[in-house]
Symmetry: C2
Subunit: 145 residues, 2 copies
């Protein structure tokens, strides 16, 4: 199973806000048409990003803004904000390995640290990329319109 598109959507949203905030009011409808995703889905993601303190959303009047400097928002922050994985574990483990089998009884002791090391490695890489990096590439590609 792949990691939910909420993650790429969220980054797309940040790129839009940063690019267009001086030009347009950034509403869920605006973001919906850039991403081609339903505005209610956008609002749910905005709510998650807001809970995480990454953006502000104006009720009533509408409009979204980024709450922190771009170099202080990492992909990991966004990944965690939009809850891409259940209970914080990247790998889904089968539920009830047998207590009667020596291997089944110990499989979690055997595997958990190895799975966690993979997950930590991945999250460290996510933490090394920031929205500042996205901004740079966005600027580069938008030059050619």
């Amino acid at each position: 199973m792949q990691i939910s598109s909420r993650f790429t959507l969220a980054i797309h949203i940040f790129a839009c806000i940063d690019t267009f905030e001086n030009e347009y009011k950034i509403t869920s409808d605006f973001l919906a048409s850039s991403t081609n995703v339903n505005p209610v889905i956008i609002r749910k993601i905005l709510a998650q990003l807001k809970s995480a303190g990454l953006i502000t959303v104006a009720r009533g009047t509408g409009g979204t803004a980024i709450a922190k400097p771009l170099n202080e928002i990492t992909f990991l922050d966004i990944y965690n904000a939009v809850e891409c994985i259940d209970n914080g574990k990247l790998f889904h483990f089968h539920d009830n390995p047998s207590e009667d089998c020596p291997v089944g009884k110990n499989i979690h002791y055997i595997l958990d640290d190895k799975l966690l090391s993979v997950q930590n490695t991945m999250e460290k890489e996510l933490a090394s990329i920031t929205l500042e990096d996205v901004k740079k590439d966005t600027a580069k590609y938008l030059k050619n319109k």
Copy 2:
């Protein structure tokens, strides 16, 4: 979304084969009772591991064996064998970003390399862990029965 339990199941299966192959015939029913997962699911995973050349399965008579030295089978081999992710991409991308929006039009150019770098980092870590490592820990924990 989490990565399918087929992955942890497959590793559990290898641990069982290695631990019990001299003691029992390793059938899908045997593995089903250690993992507490339906035997048909086990057979599907066995078929995938077999296609990848990681194990042999005896038709008719039954029984499974590991096809290579344990230190030559990495977590990445297993991960790829059981097809945990669609079309080889870890991150699901929203389908049709707008061609009319400068950001939407370029979002793949902006993001794809960054997502790939995260995926590559994770796969490199998966490749660094082998079934030999699992065997060591299994032996350690099975001592205490």
